[in-house]
């Protein structure tokens, strides 16, 4: 009951920035030279250099997906973006070693404090590279690897190479190709068989520079029977110009493993947040994405699970809050590729002002599979007259021994409910906030306590000024 908010992901708290001297700067624009620069700085092996260049060719050849997605994508000027900025590629193991100008950002965001309190490990990425990365000794002793992607690639090539790019191929979409070309930062995690990591591992992604593109790449492998919970938070200061965040996250849950991946995205309203996230669940494995999108200008993100082993399970729990001027285009992909696989999607969105929340879903059950089930629920809440919501599911469930169900509804908070609450003395604005929190309450319960308290506060903040 008495948990104090620990994680500061409040937009106003994230809206600050310090001038930082970057040692490495790839300049603006994206050519083969940019890639060579990044590879040289990071001392990438040749196969990664080739991988990146191949991805760049794919990125350049692929059209912008505006035949289905928002035309706002056309406003991204790739030539104006800085693709790599860092103070060095090696993260520090102690906060004392993190350069002062970077450290004060994370201190202000409260990261070191949270780490002490309830995390098993933390990685703090500042623009292109992790500034800090550490796990608790006890967790490390169990054989858990939690490092940045650069370090993972260098020190654990045998695991890295086996899974990297296997869940999300480079050409999956234009932005996964872009990420594959210029990726830097992100986490590499390996959990040995049977190890159950008790406390969450957390990554914090911070954009500090203007006109910057952050392209972290996260790869999590949970070996047989292991369990891990990973949380990520993101913030950026608000600039006049647009910022691009385009991550690729690949999860692999081997037989009987469980991965929970929790995101609280609270980017500032100038960020294009175009992220590809997918997990591969082997036999009896479970992958659960808990996704909360509050900030950004345009978010496009459809976490997916490919259930390739018998009795694998996929779940996406999603909350999207589209404030004035924002478009949260989110959803889920569930690919059933083995018998008795089950998936569940629960999506709740709230549109405020002229905000727009879009749900896109893909559910596929292949032929000749048996005992597969999908359940999808999408509920949208509209707060103001010019708020907008869209739902675009695509469901292909083959096979006569499989079942799926999709339900969606759209509602608003009724005037009678507000009146009732007001009669108890609660002002209209607070009543709206209370009702909105009530709408997402069952999903917020699924977040760890530290996040759910904060989410409630964020929703209250977003609701401010939406009535009257």
């Amino acid at each position: 009951m008495e948990t104090k908010p620990d994680i500061n992901i409040d937009r106003s708290i994230g809206d600050f920035h310090y001038d930082v001297d970057y040692e490495f700067d790839a300049g603006t624009g994206l050519t083969e030279k940019t890639i060579d620069y990044i590879c040289d700085v990071k001392k990438d092996p040749d196969w990664i250099r080739e991988f990146r260049k191949d991805a760049l060719r794919k990125f350049n050849s692929m059209p912008m997906p505006t035949h289905w997605a928002s035309p706002d994508l056309e406003n991204i000027v790739f030539d104006n973006i800085r693709y790599y900025l860092s103070q060095g590629t090696q993260p520090k193991r102690s906060w004392d070693d993190v350069p002062e100008d970077v450290k004060r950002t994370f201190e202000r965001l409260g990261i070191p404090e949270q780490e002490r309190k309830f995390l098993a490990g933390v990685e703090a990425q500042f623009d292109s590279e992790a500034a800090y990365s550490n796990i608790k000794a006890a967790v490390g002793e169990q054989g858990v690897i939690f490092v940045g992607s650069t370090e993972g690639l260098q020190k654990h090539p045998e695991i890295f190479k086996k899974w990297f790019g296997k869940v999300i191929p480079t050409g999956d979409n234009k932005f996964s190709a872009l990420n594959s070309a210029v990726f830097s930062g992100g986490s590499f995690i390996y959990i040995p068989p049977g190890v159950k990591v008790k406390h969450p591992l957390q990554a914090y992604f911070r954009i500090n520079a203007e006109n910057f593109g952050q392209f972290e790449r996260t790869l999590i492998i949970a070996d047989e029977g292991s369990e891990v919970m990973y949380m990520e938070g993101c913030t950026a200061p608000k600039f006049e110009t647009s910022t691009l965040h385009s991550a690729v996250v690949e999860l692999v849950a081997l037989k009987g493993a469980k991965i929970q991946y929790i995101t609280v995205q609270n980017w500032s309203s100038n960020v294009f947040n175009l992220v590809t996230k997918r997990g591969l669940a082997h036999e009896e494995a479970e992958i659960k994405w808990i996704d909360c999108n509050i900030g950004s200008r345009l978010t496009m993100k459809y976490p997916g699970v490919v259930m390739k082993g018998r009795k694998a399970r996929g779940e996406v729990i999603s909350i999207a809050l589209a404030g004035d001027g924002q478009h949260q285009d989110t959803g889920a992909k569930m690919i059933h590729a083995a018998d008795e696989t089950t998936s569940n999607i629960v999506s709740k969105s709230i549109s405020i002002g002229n905000g727009r929340a879009t749900y896109r879903g893909l559910v596929q059950v292949g032929r000749h599979l048996k005992g597969c089930k999908n359940n999808t629920e999408c509920d949208a809440l509209l707060i103001n007259t010019d708020s907008r919501t869209d739902t675009y599911p695509a469901i292909t469930v083959r096979g006569k021994e499989n079942a799926c169900q999709h339900e969606a509804s759209v509602s608003k908070i009724s005037a009678e409910q507000i009146f009732y609450m007001q009669q108890r003395g609660i002002p209209e604005g607070a009543a709206m906030s209370l009702a909105v929190n009530g709408f997402v309450n069952d999903l917020v319960q699924q977040f760890p306590m530290e996040y759910s308290v904060e989410l409630k506060r964020l929703i209250d903040l977003e609701m401010e000024g939406s009535v009257g």
Binding site: M1, E2, S414, A415, E416, Q417, F419, Y420, M421, Q422, Q423, R424, G425, I426, P427, E428, A430, A431, L434, A435, N437, G438, F439, V440, N441, D442
Partner: protein, 252 residues
Amino acid sequence: MSLKIENLTANIGDRQILKGLNLEIPKGQVHAIMGKNGSGKSTLAKVMAGHPDYEVTGGSVTLDGLDLFSMGEPDERSRAGLFVAFQYPMEIPGVTIANFIRAALQARLPEGEELDAVEYYEELYKKMDALKIDRKFTSRAVNEGFSGGEKKRCEILQMAMLNPVYAVLDETDSGLDIDALKIVSDGVNAMRSPERGFLVITHYQRLLDYIVPDVVHVMVDGRIVMSGDKTLAHKLEAEGYDWVEKETLATA
């Protein structure tokens, strides 16, 4: 010190429902309004609370001399001490009873002051126990999936927690079996005090056996047409309302 209603007229759409209603409830007393369906009883409760569907076209309501209508929003009236237990309480999905009442109490505190959570829960549990509401209900959403009786008890719980100066109970007896009626009445009686006034709106005399009123008023067509002591309620129960209408027509 009283809840005073003077010459109140109110419409819903173009239709006039309250047609010059006068009523005064001195602090410390319990008054009952009885009347047939459609006489305007529930409208009176909603108009006082400030329901947006109703338009006040004339008259005034004062709480201990404070003009209710100049307060505007329903929440201001509530914080000024007016409580309405509704005939059909709203369901508020996902908002737990504990959080809901807490938000209502928090709204009564000065800016920057936080409700003491421990004291709050002690108080809440005590009052829930008195109303025989299972403590598990604190984490249930307000009125969602409640039975009729549970909803009414939840209304009385809110009243007990918010400590109003004047409480209007609108058909609180409807949908209650005799056991629930006793529990609810005990809850109300426990709150009777020289510092509080009650207006009990009901269709049946039954409730008034348990919450014994000081004065009984009869409402016909948007007006109070007759007042008396509790025996008036028995007479209405036994003889119906026709004689009231005849009598008032004769005197009109």
